[in-house]
Symmetry: C2
Subunit: 296 residues, 2 copies
């Protein structure tokens, strides 16, 4: 098994997939992104999908992370328990064949607070490898299932998940509020008002006012921003209460990270340092590289 | 227009419909219930539906309440503003013809806290007419959009809505937790654990642990009860903080009221008086009767 030289890194999620060819110099030589998430691939279709990726990006070793290692993915790869670092992830790789492997997720096997992640661990390892995280940093990875992660001695020590993104998507698509929440979500005045309203710890108690206001001719400006601010504001306050009231480093999609950064500034006050934002794709690539260095 | 003598009372909601023939003695003489909620009726189909109800229950005057008076119903009946009582609702009736009318909803036209209800006002007026509510009572009507209502001098004075039922339904049907939440929701140990966990004001921060626990072989018993307890526990605490920490009178479906009563006992402690429960259908019929007495 030869992981020296160029390789393909794949972030294969539930609904989307991104892949990069990394050259011998460690730089991105080519890439592709599509909506062939694991949900769209039939049970025995993953080998063919991987070969199609090689046909597109090069006939190279391939290391995959994300939901591709879940019970609905190519293989159900056992989780590595906390505390976890690059070496532990490398030791837990699921080898599909001599030049194809899947990174394991990380589990917090605490019966009082069970947690799992798949994908964020690669981003965090990558940010650590790039020197962008202190060994005891607090990290937040916004997304469908937002993760807040406490590092200890450069390892993923404990974490918790908020279903903020999924609940927001459900409300936006399927609830009685859906017609009001069709627009884009940006960190403006509506978002700030939602973050503020959530200070009472009752985000779901403020949602219906969006519909009532629209019905009785006092609609709220920027309803999508307000609803998003309610949910993210509640998450940020609860997570800071659980993990310590320091601004986390944000790793993820830049648009989502901008919302979280705005909420953090609002909740922690202007005197607190701003949250650092790390692009999730770059962090993922760096994490794959760090894991490959452990096995190469 | 003659509202003396027997009549038909109709509670016509978004997804369901119940109708009763009330005899000259005020007792239920006949009834029917089906899933012909307003969502299933085409825009100009309501007159024919009402005639079909008459063909089934008797050729009688008919008074309707609920979402039938909304922008998706038969007529978009203007809301009566708070404070509202039976007389105000009677004055705001929308007369379809000489023997068919729709009860208006109630609005709280406060730009800082806009609220609307359609249907619960009939139940509350009915409970008042039956002498089951003090003139300054706190009322909770559990449901898709749960209402907490403060009465003042026997009138609906102010209220607030929690989307608890709708959010629970969305999570149960569409979220990643759906396979875990398929069972019935009862007020047992799982429900109590959810109410307890929600004491930190962060119900959405505890949901994902249901999935994580199932994935790493420490599943929580009674996941539906736990999820329901999280959301209802958060609602009950927030509503008591907003409206005063006395047990409300519960008006609604007996199974839902039982969950709320259990959460209230848990949150307020065993020394607090138990919440009184009033059957929502009986309260609705009494409310229609009270409004008819105002116009007869």
């Amino acid at each position: 098994m030869d992981w020296q030289g160029p390789y393909i890194a794949v972030d294969w999620g539930t609904t989307n997939r991104r892949a990069w060819r990394i050259g011998a110099d460690g730089a991105v030589a080519d890439s592709c992104a599509d909506d062939r998430g694991i949900r769209t691939v039939p049970e025995h279709g993953f080998a063919a999908e991987a070969e199609a990726l090689r046909a597109r990006l090069g006939d190279l070793p391939m290391l995959l992370g994300g939901m591709i290692g879940s019970d609905r993915g190519w293989r159900n790869v056992p989780y590595v328990p906390c505390p976890a670092d690059a070496r532990a992830l490398a030791a837990g790789l699921c080898r599909i064949d001599a030049r194809t492997a899947i990174v394991p997720g990380v589990a917090q096997p605490d019966p009082a607070s069970p947690e799992v992640m798949r994908g964020e661990e690669v981003q965090i390892i990558g940010a650590l490898a790039r020197g962008a995280l202190a060994p005891g940093a607090l990290v937040c990875c916004p997304g469908t299932h937002a993760k807040w992660v406490r590092l200890e001695e450069g390892r993923i020590a404990r974490f918790a998940t908020w279903m903020t993104g999924e609940v927001f998507a459900l409300i936006s698509r399927h609830s009685i509020l859906a017609p009001l929440l069709a627009g884009e979500t940006v960190p403006g005045a509506g978002f700030a008002a939602g973050v503020e309203a959530a200070a009472d710890g009752d985000p779901l108690g403020h949602l219906f006012a969006l519909r009532a206001g629209a019905l009785i001719a006092c609609p709220r400006a920027d309803a999508p921003g307000y609803a998003s601010g309610l949910l993210i504001g509640a998450e940020v306050r609860a997570a800071l209460a659980r993990f310590g009231s320091e601004p986390p480093t944000l790793i993820g999609r830049p648009d989502l990270c901008a919302l979280y950064a705005a909420a953090l500034t609002q909740v922690l006050g202007p005197a607190a340092p701003s949250a650092t934002v790390i692009d999730g794709e770059a962090a993922f690539r760096a994490g794959i590289g760090a894991i490959i260095r452990e096995v190469a």
